[in-house]
């Protein structure tokens, strides 16, 4: 057994070295743009309720599924540019692209909307690739990916009409959406370029604001590179009443479907009144490291996964 572990850890070493470099360059990237690196708690009294994200319980509290609520409480107190690299926990998520404990790079910028935050992601990835000595063509799983800017944007409506033949904005259907996204839409993306999927159905807005001129669409985006879902982006919702309504609905559904009781995040809802106009992103650092190390399993970039810890 110890021999297997030694062999595995030795095999991982080049990837882990690169991972450390990626952290270093990422921190430099944000620092140079005036972002403050912060830390928020990993064990928390409540979380943003999401029907399809199951938290681990820790006595009466939870292990953090995302640092979003605490970082927004800081934004509301006047921290206008902040970022964090933090461990997040999501129960039952295990596969080639998932480990129940993973690392999130999360940042928020006052005055920005989702379009500007997408540009942050573009700049970050291009900067990291260049500092690692890769040029604008990244090799991933036998495919050359041209990451030169700007990356193509495609709306959810267009992507679904093209690959699945229906419009999820006009006829929202979340089960059909999730299934078709995985089995039809994602496989239709060209692999030689990143894809930014923008403008999600309002029902999937979560903590994003709706478009001022089109209430059926949320200002939310997801970035995909080489088949990897890399990051989720919002123009952040600032309407406490609307946010509480969405949370309330999610809490009810979670209780009904999983029997889990999640408390309404009251302190966060109080802070929302002071939230400046802002945009933010959550980027799965493990997957970014997978991409830049050209490996196709998250097990190749995490020292000890749920199966080897």
């Amino acid at each position: 057994m110890i021999e297997d572990e030694r062999r595995r850890l030795i095999r991982l070493k080049p990837n882990l070295r690169r991972r450390a470099l990626i952290y270093e360059f990422t921190r430099a990237f944000f620092r140079e743009q005036g972002f403050l690196e912060v830390e928020t708690p990993i064990r928390v009294p409540t979380i943003a309720p999401e029907l399809h994200i199951t938290p681990f319980e820790s006595e009466a509290w939870f292990l953090s599924t995302s640092p979003e609520l605490h970082m927004k409480r800081m934004l509301a107190a006047g921290y206008d540019r902040l970022f964090q690299i933090s461990h997040c926990f999501r129960r039952g998520e295990r596969g080639r692209w998932h480990n129940p404990e993973f690392t999130m790079l999360e940042w928020y910028c006052a005055g920005a909307d989702y379009r500007q935050v997408i540009q942050d992601i573009e700049q970050l990835v291009v900067t990291l690739a260049s500092k690692l000595g890769l040029n604008t063509v990244v090799k991933y799983r036998g495919q050359d990916i041209d990451i030169s800017l700007p990356w193509p944007r495609v709306t959810v409506r267009d992507a679904f009409l093209y690959a699945a033949g229906w419009d999820p904005i006009a006829e929202p259907d979340s089960l059909r959406f999730d299934t078709d996204l995985v089995t039809k839409v994602l496989p239709s993306f060209i692999l030689s370029r990143p894809t930014v999927l923008i403008d999600y159905p309002a029902a999937m807005a979560s903590l994003a604001r709706l478009k001022p001129d089109e209430a059926r669409v949320a200002e939310r985006a997801e970035v995909f590179i080489g088949g990897l879902e890399l990051a989720n982006v919002y123009s952040e919702l600032r309407d406490a009443g609307e946010q509480e309504g969405r949370f309330h609905e999610a809490i009810e559904q979670i209780h009904k479907e999983r029997g889990q009781q999640i408390a309404m995040p009251r302190q966060f809802l109080e802070a929302i009144a002071y939230l400046p106009e802002c945009g933010g992103a959550a980027l799965g650092i493990d997957r970014l490291v997978m991409l830049l190390c050209n490996v196709d399993s998250i097990d190749e970039v995490i020292t000890f996964t749920a199966d080897t810890a």
Binding site: G95, F177, V182, E257
Partner: protein
């Protein structure tokens, strides 16, 4: 069982048919449901099937056991096996055995996968020793590569053997590939 508990090599019962999960891919885009894409192998006829499930779905586990059983004899279209512990006998149809029947010798102990009291799969030893009952004359087709010729084993299986192997010899056969490994005993 919950779909989230399904892993590679879990045995499932889908529409009453037992399958082995050959591959289980977990996908979960954005904040949506988890999607599980399974590659399944039908344990009765080895055909394959793809199935997609989403989080929250329940699947039926096929409750299986592995028994050590001894192959006794062939009766009509069936091969008769006996559990080495309980002495219970089980019949497996020739069609269900597929190529595996080519390496079954009376008295051989194999592992049988049972679902309830129904045998659904059989695992042979990796190597078996079988006697050549008939062998042809080596064809002189080349002088550099070792010459081979065809021979018939006691199970009726036709195999390529080196020119020196002859009727009555015992040879070792790899059951995964169905190929000759080495000669164990020459006929005196």
């Amino acid at each position: 069982m919950d779909i989230s508990d399904v892993h590679k090599n879990t045995k499932l019962l889908v529409d009453g048919i037992p399958y082995n999960v050959e591959e289980a891919e977990f996908m979960k885009p954005g904040k949506g449901r988890a999607i599980y894409r399974l590659k399944l192998r039908n344990l009765l006829d080895s055909s394959t099937a793809d199935r997609t499930y989403h989080s929250g779905e329940k699947v039926e586990e096929a409750h299986t056991t592995n028994n050590e059983e001894q192959y006794l004899y062939k009766e009509g279209e069936h091969y008769v096996f006996m559990n080495t512990k309980t002495f219970e006998q089980h019949f497996i149809a020739e069609a269900q055995l597929g190529n595996k029947k080519d390496f079954l010798k009376e008295g051989m102990v194999v592992v049988i996968l049972m679902m309830g009291d129904k045998p659904i799969d059989i695992t042979l030893p990796t190597f078996v020793e079988l006697r050549i009952v008939e062998s042809g004359v080596a064809t002189k087709t080349g002088t550099i590569t070792p010459q081979t010729k065809s021979a018939i084993l006691e199970t009726g299986y036709t195999i390529a053997v080196p020119a020196f192997a002859k009727e009555g010899d015992i040879i070792k056969v790899d059951t995964r590939t169905g190929t000759y490994v080495e000669r164990i005993g020459a006929k005196k």
